[in-house]
C-alpha cells in the first residue's frame, strides 16, 4: 500500500485515541475536583490534567490560570491547541478523507458523523457541566464506535495493522504520561508514595484509563499505589497497560513483517521493549525509580514511532 495511506491510517487511529484519552482525563479531573478540599489536598488537579496531556507550556501562553473553565476549554475546543479534542477529531477526519479508499464505510460513517455533530452541536463549546458531560460522552462513544467498526469491518491486512499500530502506540504514551505526572510531579517531596491524600487521585487515574473496576477484579484489594502501577505497567490483561500495548504492537508488527516477507528495526525495537516489560517486576521498577522507568519507556515508545515512520511511512 502507499506509504502515505499507511501513515494516514496510523495517525488517524492516534488522533481518535488521543481524543478519547483527553475526554477521560477531563472526566476524571471533574470528579476529583468535585470532592471537598480535605480529600484531595492542595494539589491543582487541572494543572496535572494539562501535564498528562503534555500541553502545559502552550497552555500558559494562552492563559494565566489553570482552572476548570480554562483547562476544559483548552483541552476540548481550543483552536490553537493542536491536540485539543476538537482538533483531534478534525485531524482524524481530514486523514480519513485522504484515505477514504482504505477505510470501510462504517469507519468513515463514524468519523464523518462525529465531525458533523462537532460542527452542528458543539461549535460553541459547552456552557454547563451537563453539556460538558454530554460532550465527553460523545467523544468517548466516537472512539468506541470507530474502534469497533475497525475491528468488525476491516480486512485483516496491512491497512488494519498500521491503524492498530497508531492506536497502541498512542495508548501506551497516554498511560505512561499519567503515571509519570502522578508519580513525579504530584508527589510532595516530604510525603512518601501512597500518602492518605492520594487515594482519590489514584481513583482518578484508574478512571482515566477505565480501569477502576478492573483493579478490584484483578487484585481484590483496596487501592495501593504499587498495585496500581503494577496494573498499568505490567499487567497484560488490562488493555491500556504498557505491557498489553506492547504485546499488541509486537503482534501487529510481526503480521506486517510476515505479509511483507521482511523483518526490520521496528520489529526488533518493539520486541526489545516488550521483553523488558515482561522481565520486570514492581520491585525492580520501584528500586530503579518509577520516574526513571517511565521516562525511559516514554522515550523508547516515541523512538518506536520514529522507527516505524522511517521503515514504512515515508
Amino acid at each position: 500500500m502507499l506509504s502515505r495511506t499507511a501513515e494516514n491510517l496510523y495517525w488517524l487511529a492516534r488522533y481518535v485515541e488521543r481524543a478519547e484519552y483527553l475526554a477521560r482525563t477531563i472526566d476524571a479531573t471533574l470528579r476529583v475536583t468535585a470532592l471537598p478540599a480535605a480529600y484531595i489536598g492542595k494539589t491543582n488537579e487541572w494543572e496535572s490534567a494539562l501535564l498528562t496531556a503534555g500541553v502545559s507550556a502552550s497552555f500558559y501562553e494562552a492563559y494565566s490560570e489553570a482552572n476548570e473553565q480554562n483547562v476544559v476549554e483548552y483541552l476540548s475546543f481550543n483552536q490553537s491547541n493542536p491536540s485539543s479534542i476538537k482538533n483531534c477529531i478534525e485531524a482524524a477526519r481530514l486523514n480519513a478523507r485522504s484515505v477514504r479508499t482504505a477505510l470501510t464505510s462504517e469507519m468513515w460513517d463514524t468519523l464523518n458523523g462525529s465531525w458533523i455533530e462537532l460542527q452542528e452541536v458543539w461549535s460553541k463549546g459547552t456552557k454547563t457541566r451537563e453539556e460538558l458531560a454530554r460532550f465527553l460522552r460523545f467523544v468517548q462513544e466516537t472512539s468506541l464506535r470507530f474502534d469497533g467498526s475497525a475491528y468488525r469491518t476491516m480486512l485483516r491486512n496491512d491497512a488494519y495493522w498500521f491503524s492498530r499500530l497508531g492506536l497502541h502506540l498512542e495508548r501506551a504514551d497516554n498511560t505512561a504520561r499519567i503515571l509519570d505526572v502522578k508519580y513525579h510531579v504530584l508527589l510532595p517531596e516530604d510525603e512518601h508514595v501512597g500518602g492518605p491524600l492520594d487515594y482519590y487521585q489514584w481513583t482518578s487515574i484508574l478512571r482515566s484509563v477505565s480501569a477502576l473496576t478492573a483493579y478490584h477484579w484483578v487484585y481484590r484489594e483496596t487501592l495501593k499505589p504499587w498495585l496500581i502501577a503494577d496494573l498499568l505497567i505490567l499487567n497484560d490483561t488490562l488493555p491500556r497497560s504498557l505491557a498489553s500495548c506492547y504485546g499488541n504492537l509486537v503482534r501487529n508488527l510481526d503480521q506486517i513483517g510476515v505479509a511483507y516477507g521482511r523483518q526490520g528495526p521496528s520489529q526488533r525495537h518493539a520486541r526489545g521493549v516488550r521483553n523488558r516489560l515482561e522481565h520486570s517486576n514492581m520491585d525492580d521498577v520501584f528500586q530503579r525509580g518509577v520516574h526513571e522507568f517511565i521516562q525511559e519507556f516514554i522515550s523508547d515508545n516515541s523512538r518506536l514511532g520514529e522507527i516505524i515512520t522511517k521503515q514504512y511511512l515515508i
Binding site: 502507499l2 506509504s3 478523507r97 477514504r100 479508499t101 468513515w108 458523523g113 496491512d158 515515508i314
Partner: protein, 472 residues
Amino acid sequence: MAVAFDEMNEPGGDVRQAYQELSRWLKETPPEALEYRRHEAELLFRRIGITFAVYGEAEAQERLIPFDVIPRIISAKEWTLLEKGLKQRVKALNMFLRDIYHGRDILRANVVPDDLIFQNPVFRPEMNGQDVPHDVYVHIAGIDIVRVDANDFIVLEDNARTPSGVSYMLENREIMMRLFPDLFARHRVAPVERYPDELLSCLRSVAPLSASAEPTVALMTPGIYNSAYYEHSFLADKLGIELVEGRDLIVKNDEVFMRTTEGLKRVDVIYRRVDDDFLDPLTFRPDSALGVPGLMSAYAAGNVTLANAVGTGIADDKAIYSYMPDVVKFYLGEEPILKNVQTWRCREPQDLSYVLDHLGELVVKEVHGSGGYGMLIGPAATKATIEAFRDKLKREPEGFIAQPTLALSTCPTCVASGLAPRHVDLRPFVLTGRDRTTIVPGGLTRVALKEGSLVVNSSQGGGTKDTWVLDE
C-alpha cells in the same frame, strides 16, 4: 428569447412518450412524499460525504450539490443518435490533437488559423512530435450537450482535459435506486454501474509498451483541498487503484514509481486529475508542489501513459470550439451529427462589430474561462455590466467569443412551490481506449435551480439530477 423546449410536456398539453410513466407517477405521489425523499437524499449525500469545494468561500469549504429527485429521461432513440454523434466528435478531437502535435495538415489546409494554436497558452510545444500510445489523447471526454427542440442535440462545450462529474452520475443513480425502487420497476432504465470497469479497461489498454502484462494504474489527485477530491477518491475506490498525490510518486531512470510500505512500485498509467501546468515542476510551473519532478521526461521516454494526454486543452479551447464542425469534416469527411452553437469569434472584425451591436441579446464568454465565471449573459445583465463588457471586448477582442442566448430545454424539478420547469444540460462521458470507444448510457444532468436561470454550474447554484436512458 425563444420559449424553452419542455422535455416532459408538449405545448398542446400531451406528455412526451419517454415521460409518460413518470408523469403518471408524479400525479399519484403526494408532494409531501417527494419532499420527504428529497430530504432523505440530502442526508445520504452528507453522510457519504459527497461534497465539493467552492474556491474563495472560506466558511463553506465543503458543500453539497443540491440534488433533484425528479429524473431526466432520454429515450432509446434519442440516445442512439447522441451516442453516434459523441463518438464522431471525440474521434475528431483525437485526430485533431494527433495532427496538431505532428504533421499539422489542418493548419496547412487553412481550416484552423495558425495563431489560434501557436499563440494559445494551452498549446504545449513539449508535445511536438511526441507519440502517445495508440494515438489516443483524450481518453476521458465530457461533452456538454444542450437541447433546444425535440430534434437536435447541440454541443455547448468539449471538455478534453480533466472533466469531472462522473461520480455524480453514479451516486445519483445509487441514491435514486435506494429511494425510488418502485419508480425504477415501472421503467426500463439502462444501467450505468459498469462505468468504473469500462474506465479501468480503457486505461489498461493504453499502457506503454514497457509495462508488464498487468499494468499498474493509479489516479493522481491534487489532494483533499481540490474541489473534485471526493470524485477522485470515489473513482480510485471503484477502480481498485491507488489514489496518489505528487509526493507519492518519484521518477528514477525515466520510470515512475510510487512509494509504498514495501518500497518503490512502478506505475504504468496515470489517470491524472491534475492540470498540465502542475504536473511537473521541471517542465511547467516551477512553484507547483502538486507535481512530480521528472514526470514529463518519463512521459517523453514512453514509460508512462498520462490520461488524458498533455496538451489536450488545445482541442477544447472555446476559440477552437467554433471550428469543430470543420474539424469533423476535415478528418472524417462526414457531416457533424451534433451541431455547434452558432458562435461569433470576436477576433474577427466583422463578428466583433456584430457582437458589440447586440450585446444585450448575446452570451459572451472568455475564451479561456470555465465554470461559468467571467461570462456575460446579455438579457440578464444590467446596463453597467454590459458597458463594462463592451470595454473589455474592445481592449482584448481575441479573448472572447459570443453566442446567442440559448433557450435550454427544461425538465420538471422540485422547487419550493412544488414542481416547476427548470433549465438543464447534459454531460455524457466518452471513454476512448486502444480499440474501442464506449459511452455508458447516461451522464450528468445539471439543472439551474433558480427560476429563469440558465447557469447550471454547481459553483453558481446549479444542482444535479439522475439521467435515465430508457432501454427499449
